[in-house]
């Protein structure tokens, strides 16, 4: 007996965001970190801040933390991203 059956998946990839154009250099730039608020982000991001400043000449690092670590960034954080040259969004698990 032959069965004709249907695909249970959407069949198309979900919409994806586009990466911003890459920076030529990090020197003198303002970089934002968006933390999900978990314990592990604190030490990791502080260490990364040091590397970006010491080794890459980043001028300023801004730290922001989401109000819910399982949800997208809060609207006020998303708005603030426009004032940064680059953004790092990281997990803390």
């Amino acid at each position: 007996m032959t069965f004709r059956v249907l695909d249970p998946t959407p069949g198309t990839a979900p919409p994806v965001g586009q990466l911003a154009p890459r920076l030529d250099t990090l020197k003198g730039k303002k970089v934002g970190f968006i933390s999900n608020g978990k314990e592990g982000t604190k030490g990791f991001f502080r260490h990364l801040e040091q590397i970006l400043k010491d080794d890459y000449g980043v001028a300023e690092v801004v730290f922001r933390t989401k109000s819910n670590y399982s949800a997208p960034a809060d609207p006020h954080i998303a708005d603030e991203i426009k004032t940064w040259d680059a953004v790092v969004s990281g997990l803390g698990d």
């Binding site: 032959t2 059956v5 249907l6 959407p10 949800a71």
Partner: protein, 351 residues
């Protein structure tokens, strides 16, 4: 009826199984072949065209259509009469406060608890008595499974893909129960949560595994409920201290003592809210002293308010066994109740 989905031919029932397993479209168990005829029967039952938009998942922007939910419902073993319940569960899960993406992707490994209320339980044969949290009946088994298959196939909630659960729990195969409304004089859950009594409704909650308890040695409401509160305190110590929606399942043997003493669900929730609370310093007793810090005297309640407790009457007639079902993680996700057959986005535009 015109379907958007790609179709495949398989020469035998075994070939169907291998097609679906090899593509990662199952939960590891055999599926019912989702033929065009079977899917059409589901859609006809709900009087929906295949391209009916059920909702758009808020985080990844995926459009969910009736056709895709019907395909997965058939695979789970649903009959057409089960399909509206699956649709309603999905409508509820796509409400922003449920936080579907977070709840289904989290390392915390919760499942979607689906609670059925109202006349539809009886129409589809959903039982809230013996083995209520297990394989109690066909309807709850397949509805709970359909919710999971939809997550797998529509949202990519596959282990190691979107689903990052460390452990998960068995409720991720199917986690659906019906309230035993005929076995209690309490208001059903949907009425407590603001839905008309005559309506049928589905409540979804991002839920951990049930924690079973037992107290067969008292008839006093306070003592019975203290056992439930103690289990919640244990969860707060061992798992998460943060307040959120908890559910408690109270079986008939324990309900009879509470009802004889004229305790309502509201009385129960008020009592539990007072008793299910701990000091942060108690974390030090269970190996979590490192995060007590200077807040040891802070008191944490299991729920922010009594109405966050979902009190459910269910379970076989004998045995003083109850269950506490904890939230995935505090208030990250909120339980959502939606009446069956009601459009949640159909209000006229506000001026």
């Amino acid at each position: 009826m015109q379907f958007q989905s790609r179709s495949y031919e398989a020469e035998s029932i075994s070939a169907v199984q291998e097609l679906y397993h090899s593509n990662g479209w199952t939960d590891g168990l055999p599926i019912v072949p989702p033929t065009e005829e079977a899917v059409k029967e589901c859609l006809d039952w709900a009087m929906m065209p295949p391209d009916q938009l059920i909702g758009i998942e808020p985080v990844r922007g995926l459009a969910i259509t009736a056709e895709k939910i019907a395909i997965n419902a058939v695979m789970a073993g649903c009959l057409p009469m089960h399909f509206p319940v699956v649709l309603t569960a999905w409508t509820a899960m796509m409400q922003e406060e449920f936080l579907m993406h977070g709840a289904t992707a989290s390392t915390g490994g919760c499942a979607v608890l689906v609670v059925l209320n109202g006349p539809i339980r009886l129409e589809i044969g959903a039982a809230g008595s013996f083995n209520a949290l297990g394989n109690s009946d066909r309807a709850t088994a397949v509805i709970g499974r359909a919710v999971r298959l939809c997550l797998i196939n529509l949202m990519d909630v596959r282990p190691g893909v979107i689903d990052r659960s460390t452990l998960g729990h068995p409720g991720k195969f199917s986690y659906c129960l019906a309230e035993d409304e005929e076995g209690t004089d309490w208001d059903p859950l949907h009425v407590v949560r603001g839905v008309e009594r005559a309506a049928s409704a589905v409540t979804v909650m991002a839920a951990g595994a049930p924690r079973q308890l037992m107290n067969e040695w008292t008839t006093k409401p306070e003592e019975i409920l203290e056992t439930f509160a103690a289990e919640m305190r244990a969860n707060m110590r061992h798992y998460s201290i943060h307040p959120g929606n908890y559910a408690i399942v109270i079986p008939q043997q324990l309900r009879e003592h509470l009802q004889a003493a004229k305790w309502t669900k509201k009385d129960i929730a008020n009592f539990i809210h007072e008793r299910a609370r701990i000091h942060r310093r108690e974390w030090a007793d269970v190996g979590k002293g490192a995060v007590v810090r200077d807040r040891g005297d802070s008191v944490y309640t299991a729920m922010e308010s009594p109405d966050q407790l979902l009190v459910i009457a269910a379970g076989g007639p004998a045995g003083g066994f109850g269950a506490v079902i904890p939230p995935w993680l505090g208030n990250k996700s909120h339980a959502v109740t939606v009446p069956v057959g009601v459009c949640v986005d159909c209000e006229p535009p506000k001026k």
